[in-house]
């Protein structure tokens, strides 16, 4: 079946599928990195991560000078400035990072200070997501927003990787997404392996108690991790939003759930695992035949499910010794 599928579509289509898969997979990867960073140090799933993703997309959209629609408190408003896309991307993601720090202060820190059940954190982070989503809706309504088509300046809409007779057109936006994501992953890899912060992160994710005994300032460290996590979510949100559109305030929730698939596949709390998981799921989705595209959304969850049953620690996780 696989072979006939490949044959029918021809090799140029495989090439396109791989590039599309890598492109979306790399966004999954940077999004999931934010998830997994928080999990690796706190052992909690931040369900507000998907909402921060949405928020980042809206921030960047606003910064590029995009106008809002007819609903909500900010109907028809727009900023007087029109930042170039790349600036808006960075600034919007920084704002998303700040929002993530605020969520940490309000929904996570009080519970942590009290030593509360981590289960409550799950719920409070979802409460934070409900707040963010509905604030967005209250302010700008639930319309779909599309980034201006000229965000990449004079770059063509697509680039032909094939020949004139057999064109393999790849949308420029896919290439931009892949490049930005690859850049971010490289920077993070450097950051985690070669900086003080990164070493501290590894230490904390190995053993939080010992790390705090070693004098790592846990609170400052957690704040920064949440900033970084939110920044990555904002980046991912903007990239996805610019590639398709911002599909309303709930835009990030489904993405957030899929992100769970990514981090479980690679290994919960495992940083290289998040990248691998993102690429695997992106590629798997890209190869879903058009006739079954309705089931594409289930791939991440099916992989997640199978991974949990077969190897709960994920592709790159270490096995957990049974508790006695």
């Amino acid at each position: 079946m696989q072979a006939s599928f490949l044959f029918n579509h021809g090799h140029h289509s495989i090439f396109t599928a791989i590039l599309n898969g890598l492109s979306i997979g790399s966004v999954y990867a940077i999004f999931a990195l934010g998830y997994t960073l928080v999990f690796s140090i706190l052992g909690i799933i931040n369900f507000a991560h998907g909402a921060i993703f949405t928020l980042g997309a809206y921030f960047s959209y606003t910064l590029t000078g995009g106008a809002f629609g007819f609903n909500g408190l900010l109907a028809n408003a727009s900023l007087p400035i029109h930042l170039p896309f790349l600036f808006a991307l960075v600034l919007g993601s920084i704002l998303a990072g700040i929002a993530s720090v605020i969520v940490e202060r309000l929904a996570f820190r009080p519970l942590r200070k009290r030593g509360a059940d981590p289960l409550l954190t799950l719920v409070s982070s979802l409460g934070a997501a409900v707040v963010i989503v509905n604030v967005i809706q209250y302010l700008v309504g639930s319309e779909i927003y599309t980034f201006p088509s000229d965000i990449y300046g004079r770059l063509p809409a697509s680039i032909n990787f094939g020949t004139v007779e057999r064109p393999i057109a790849i949308r420029t936006v896919q290439i931009v997404i892949f490049s930005v994501s690859a850049l971010i992953v490289s920077i993070l890899t450097y950051f985690i392996n070669f900086t003080r912060f990164g070493k501290a992160l590894q230490a904390v994710s190995e053993d939080a108690i010992t790390a705090s005994l070693l004098g790592i300032n846990t609170e400052k460290f957690i704040t920064f991790t949440f900033f970084l996590s939110g920044f990555l979510a904002g980046l991912a949100g903007t990239l996805v939003g610019s590639s398709v559109s911002i599909a309303g305030p709930y835009f990030g929730i489904a993405f957030g759930l899929k992100g769970l698939g990514v981090i479980v596949l690679g290994g919960l709390g495992n940083i290289p695992g998040a990248v691998l998981g993102g690429l695997v799921i992106g590629l798997a989705e890209a190869f879903v035949p058009a006739d079954y595209s309705g089931y594409k959304e289930a791939i991440a969850f099916a992989l997640l499910f199978m991974m949990l049953l077969v190897r709960p620690q994920g592709l790159l996780g270490r096995s957990v010794i049974q508790k006695v």
């Binding site: 989503v133 769970l260 969850f301 499910f305 949990l308």
Partner: protein, 325 residues
Amino acid sequence: MTMTAFLETYGFLIVSMLLGALLGLSVYLPLMAGQLSLASPGFYALGGYIAAILSTQVFPVTEGSFPLLELLLEMLLAAIAAAVLAIALGIPVLRLRGIYLAIATIAFVEILRVLALNLEITGGAVGIFGIPQPFQSQIGYLWIVVPLLGLSMVFLYRLESMHVGRVLRAIREDELAADTMGINPTHYKLLSFVLGAVLAGVVGAISAHFLNTWNARQGTFDASIVYLAFVLSGGSRTFVGPVVGGIVLTALPEILRGMAGISGLPIWLAQFLQDGRLIIFGLLIVMSTVFLPPRGNYTRTVTTMAMAKAAARQRETRETREGSD
């Protein structure tokens, strides 16, 4: 306002509140044994589709109201289907602990949702419309929902005060210790998981009629966290918590909407209460978790989170290696 008029006006809300209480209980049941399962919305959706399909496509069309007996039959079939699916799902996933179980059940709910969106029998993205009504008005559903909630509460009260309830709490406290006392944890975890699933399935079957329409937006992931919020805001130590939590939290957005109608409020506030009520709802979820007094220590047992876990794992690895004496 007379009693009848009050019931007519708030019929939808009152029934919804009681259904909320039942859904809270469906999350609470596995939690009694320490299992954080977010699968309830999946079983709820399943039950709803069973009722929707049977009543619109299988059962013969009847004059007047939809026969109550057929509704009860649907509830029974929903319960059986939920139980079968819960056993098939529970046996593999209940080996997982803490957040891993939660995530696996989220995946289950999402897979069901995608199936519902794509299958023909579930009506695809549009869903199923015109599900027949067994009662003249929505308040009539109290005839079904009140006895069901009453029975569930009696069931849980008795369960909690007898040996099986004690066993479930022991597993929640320390599964391995319970195991060495002769209790088969898998058996009881599965039991509480299946009971929760059955309840959710039955509620789904009622809700499909009650809401008149059923689609893939019923019983999604956000719903599972809302149910969990029912349990946690009310308290997860006894079954009363989820009942109260389900009732109050379901009513909350409507109460806020009602408050917006109070005369004399500044326009901006009235508008905020009206349009921004879900913001307040979210804030209350956050605040109820942040400010509620801690109810005993379930940290150690309900969810094993990586921070505690990583430390424990290391300690235990060391201990078991060293023989821990």
